[in-house]
């Protein structure tokens, strides 16, 4: 019975924690402190709910418990009181959030929390950990397991992140108009990074960690609800939904990776594809067809619409990559562009483009370059060179599953 109650508390936490932390952060003007107050409330809940049952309005219960802790703290801590007075906050909490807070108010708080957790003063690792923690409702242990690092490491990152925010005096607010685009890009980048870590695990034995993908997609959907007029948010959601639709087809019976063109398309999740296409249509209707995420989503959508690999509109995909290389230039985009060109106009043309990238410093050590090159060489019948490239790629990847796949391809040359 006690474990059931515990699981109920955890479920409530997952649903309520982001709103709770956001509301508290507005009150105490400090995300780190807000997160600690919320944790304290969680500890109280774990102590009381198993005995008295889950309250009728668990969110309000947690908020009240956390607010009481905050009031205690302010009474006890003169320095903190002074700090609040300095920034002109009353210490009476007249404007404290409560369960009856306006929906719009809660959304504003959540948006502030999003931008704070992804603030540029933080390292990428800190942004990721803090975002999953305060917005995703994940425990330190869950984050640690998702990223295959010790729990202490994640705890440390979160502590440091809170300190960095406090030290830099990062205000709890949504960035001004002139900063907004750049700051939004960093928020989207953090969420997509989380998704990718789940989608193509960079290290370890698993090819995918689906739970992390689900968390990232959920965060993306939350963001789309908070910023419905931002086309790139819908573009990112579209991209993640369509990519997530392939999750089951990307893993073979032995857990090995299955590449896009070899996937059994009947295994793609049609519900997620439809959601992705809807989100892409929203991005486009908001005038955002040319944004970097919307373009990537449009590419993913081309694959999703093709019933069989040979139905893929590679010419359109090549065109989309060309547009993408203008708005978000990177050697990796160039590499993908070369692949699409190779598919549309033949491997010789693709190889020419890839060869131009061989000396790109950014791509040094990037296993996909030799892997793509090997593929094009194999298609051209240059098997000995192809084998070398596949072997080189196998030596570069950090993912065990992928290494095996590449060595198999080398052996098949």
């Amino acid at each position: 019975m006690a474990t059931d109650a515990r699981r109920a508390v955890e479920a409530v936490w997952r649903i309520e924690s982001a709103r709770l932390i956001a509301g508290l952060a507005r009150m105490v003007r400090d995300v780190g402190l807000a997160e600690e107050l919320a944790q304290d409330a969680l500890v109280s809940a774990l102590a009381q709910w198993p005995e008295h049952g889950v309250p009728r309005n668990p969110g309000a219960w947690l908020m009240t418990a956390a607010k009481n802790r905050a009031v205690d703290l302010i009474r006890r801590d003169r320095n903190y009181r002074r700090k609040l007075e300095q920034i002109g906050r009353d210490t009476e909490f007249d404007h404290a959030p409560d369960a009856a807070a306006e929906v719009g108010e809660i959304d504003d708080d959540l948006l502030r929390l999003v931008f704070t957790a992804c603030h540029p003063v933080l390292s990428t690792e800190a942004q990721v950990a803090l975002t999953l923690r305060v917005l995703g409702g994940l425990t330190t242990d869950e984050i640690a397991r998702a990223f295959l690092v010790p729990e202490a490491t994640v705890a440390q990152r979160i502590v440091r992140a809170k300190k960095s925010l406090a030290k830099a005096g990062v205000p709890f607010e949504v960035p001004e108009e002139d900063q907004r685009a750049a700051r939004l890009a960093s928020v989207l980048g953090v969420i997509y990074l989380i998704f990718n870590e789940g989608y193509s695990a960079t290290a370890g034995d698993d090819w995918m960690r689906p739970a992390l993908c689900e968390d990232a997609v959920r965060l993306g959907r939350v963001l789309a609800g908070l910023m419905p007029r931002e086309p790139e948010v819908h573009g990112l959601v579209a991209l993640m939904e369509v990519q997530a639709s392939r999750a089951r087809a990307r893993v073979g019976p032995g857990g090995e990776p299955v590449l896009l063109l070899e996937q059994n398309r009947a295994r793609w999740d049609q519900l997620l594809i439809r959601r992705g296409l809807d989100a892409l249509a929203r991005a486009e209707s908001l005038g955002g067809a040319g944004g970097p995420y919307a373009l990537q989503a449009a590419i993913a959508a081309c694959h999703a619409r093709a019933r069989a690999p040979e139905d893929t509109d590679w010419t359109r995909i090549a065109g989309l990559y060309e547009r993408l290389s203008l708005v978000a230039p990177s050697p990796v985009v160039e590499l993908n562009h070369a692949v699409a060109i190779g598919m549309a106009f033949g491997p010789a043309v693709g190889l020419e483009l890839v060869d131009e990238l061989v000396d790109e410093p950014v791509l040094t050590g990037y296993h996909l370059l030799p892997s793509v090159r090997g593929d094009l060489l194999a298609k051209l019948g240059r098997h000995a060179e192809a084998r070398e490239e596949f072997e080189r790629a196998a030596g570069l990847t950090r993912n065990e599953r992928e290494r095996k796949l590449l060595l198999d391809r080398a052996a098949a040359c």
Binding site: R7, R218, R221, G225, A266, W268
Partner: protein, 143 residues
């Protein structure tokens, strides 16, 4: 994990009684909360069983019976498809479904099978199933 949250029918839903403005508003707000939390994959309300039909199977025989169907309590009036971490989380969400009229009603929560749950299904069989589903979806998309 995916959960299907099944709203059971009652006399009102079977009679095709339109929900009041207050009910619609409360349900709309709840749906919006599910969307905002990023957990709602799909959800629909169903017409009464009087607009439906059943097909009974017995060996090679197929017998079609038009609605309405008698056992109101066993019928369903709508569903949500949610993506959540646990059954407990589904329970917490369902407790929040509004009930502005205070009527007696019932909501059932069931976990959706994913193909990973069919340990004995051969790959070929799973592929057939997905293929069929894809065809249905494609038809639905055209229709």
């Amino acid at each position: 994990m995916r959960f299907m949250v099944i709203v059971k029918a009652n006399e009102d839903t079977e009679a095709g009684t339109q929900p009041t403005a207050a009910e619609l508003e409360a349900m709309g707000a709840f749906n919006e909360e599910l969307v905002k939390a990023g957990v709602l994959l799909a959800g629909e309300g169903l017409h009464p069983s009087s607009k439906g039909a059943r097909v009974y199977f017995s060996g090679d025989k197929r017998t079609v019976v038009d609605g309405p169907f008698a056992e109101t309590k066993e019928l369903i009036a709508g569903f949500w498809l949610l993506e959540l971490k646990s059954l407990e989380e589904a329970v917490e969400w369902v407790k929040r479904v509004p009930n502005p009229t205070g009527d007696e009603s019932q909501i059932e929560i069931r976990q959706v099978f994913t193909e990973d749950d069919f340990v004995n299904a051969s790959d070929e069989l799973k592929d057939r199933e997905r293929e069929l589903r894809a065809q249905q979806e494609a038809r639905a998309a055209q229709g």
